[in-house]
Amino acid sequence: MASVNLVYFAWVRERIGRGEETLELPDTVVTAGDLLAHLKTLGEEYEAALEHENVIRVAINQEHVDHDETIAGAREIALFPPMTGG
């Protein structure tokens, strides 16, 4: 088990119902995609937030990553929708 800080933004944050949390992750969670799949097993709020997994963006230690990126060594993992700034 590894402990990781998760942060959520915009409608991902609203649907999960919190902006951040620390979770213990099982060793089977290796990639960002694995993390999304794991979170969806934790409750319906996660299922609602991550329903369309392919649109969810992931950042590890404040840098964008693809879903197949390993989360090993991550201090902070952020999940959020496509960005709409500017």
Partner: protein
């Protein structure tokens, strides 16, 4: 590596275009072109009372800095400034400012365009609409044309 100065700020308050241009060019005699782009909040034909901008503190600054550094290297810019506001912004107010400087105009135009295209698609900001009828509207959806605008730079 780049020696050209990059100024990046993410702030709640407004900014002043003239002040920021002055700060970027003060004391220099090598700059021949300065381009400024500012993005404002539209009222969407009177239906919108405010935009609320959420951001990812830390990553927002880091990502915009990465984009500016890339623009400086790609276009040979002499300086770049990018300021993005967060919080509630009313129609007519400023949201974002990009300033680029180069010896000749084309690089400054292209650099500002490049920075905005990547800022819109990869800087962690999200807009929520507040309606004139008092309703908190939905989150603004990302647009395919913004992805297309970004992707044209990869040719």
């Amino acid at each position: 590596m780049t020696a050209a100065p990059v100024t990046v700020r993410v702030q709640r308050g407004d900014f002043d275009l003239a002040t920021e241009v002055q700060a970027l060019s003060a004391g220099r005699h090598d700059i021949g072109a300065v381009v400024t782009f500012s993005g404002l909040c539209r009222d969407e034909a009177g239906t919108l009372s405010a935009l609320e901008l959420e951001h990812y503190p830390g990553m927002a600054e880091a990502e915009i800095t990465r984009i500016c550094d890339e623009a400086i290297n790609r276009f040979g810019l002499q300086a770049a400034t990018a300021i993005h506001r967060y919080g509630k912004i009313a129609p007519g107010e400023n949201i974002v400012l990009v300033i680029t400087a180069s010896p000749h105009r084309q690089a400054a135009f292209d650099g500002a365009n490049f920075i905005m295209d990547f800022l819109k698609t990869s800087a962690p900001f999200w807009k929520k609409e507040h309606g004139n009828d008092g309703t908190a509207g939905g989150w603004v959806s990302a647009k395919d044309e913004d992805d297309s605008a970004r992707d044209r730079w990869s040719d």
